[in-house]
Symmetry: C2
Subunit: 161 residues, 2 copies
Amino acid sequence: MADSVLFEFLHTEMVAELWDHDPDSDPTPGGQKPSLSVLEGMGFRVGQALGERLPQDALALREELDALKFLCKDLWVAVFQKQVDGLRTNHQGTYVLQDNSFPLLLPMASGLQYQEEAAKFLAFPCGLLRGSLHTLGFRSLVTASVAALPACKFQVMIQKP
Amino acid sequence: MADSVLFEFLHTEMVAELWDHDPDSDPTPGGQKPSLSVLEGMGFRVGQALGERLPQDALALREELDALKFLCKDLWVAVFQKQVDGLRTNHQGTYVLQDNSFPLLLPMASGLQYQEEAAKFLAFPCGLLRGSLHTLGFRSLVTASVAALPACKFQVMIQKP
């Protein structure tokens, strides 16, 4: 029994439970369903807490690109047992992390009708990235998109102080 | 960054989130707060799913005592990175699992005023035990009690068919 399975099962239950509470609620004025905000917030706090457990040399990553590489490698391996498959940047504070087979989307059959469902499973990891970056000293906006399951992209925009 | 930390952080967030939804709700006629039932149910399903990942020889544990020993050792190590410290039985279907330093209670300072709080953190593991036993072929009732933090006891009553 791998520990990663435990995290994935617990995450699945958490998503299901929040959707039970909140099945048909309207989007907030910002356009996001409350459950997604709740999941994103939980991811943020878990990311922050994980960040505080990072080796001290990681906390000294003051270059944006180094911090992003750290997330793609160390954070992803710690949480998902794999690295992010690709990292691109426009060198102006925007980064795109490409995961060709994102573990939280793997249980979902492929097909267009599941793409809306996918949003539920991407809110927590968006928060996880934002929280870890926060502990590393960077404010960011993180969004996710799916073109073809189980691949997905996370877009990170670093907010300048 | 150990994977166990990830599970513990996620569990903490889940408890906090459910309490936010349900801070002052009245107990159900059964005497349990709805949030506790929700957490127990999530634990049950995670335990069931973990049970299905067990090696096949574990699923062949048809003796109650063997199944309980399996939970005390293999399940506990997989989820909490430690074994249960003691197992007692009356040889009539009731088992008491004693954990002298239960990981989900460790972050809580000791003190009588926290014992009520502790119930929140024991509902999920009660469900976890019940769900794993279910996959192993045993129906059970599982309750938990705390005498002195961070020690706790889980009482398992196997239901005869």
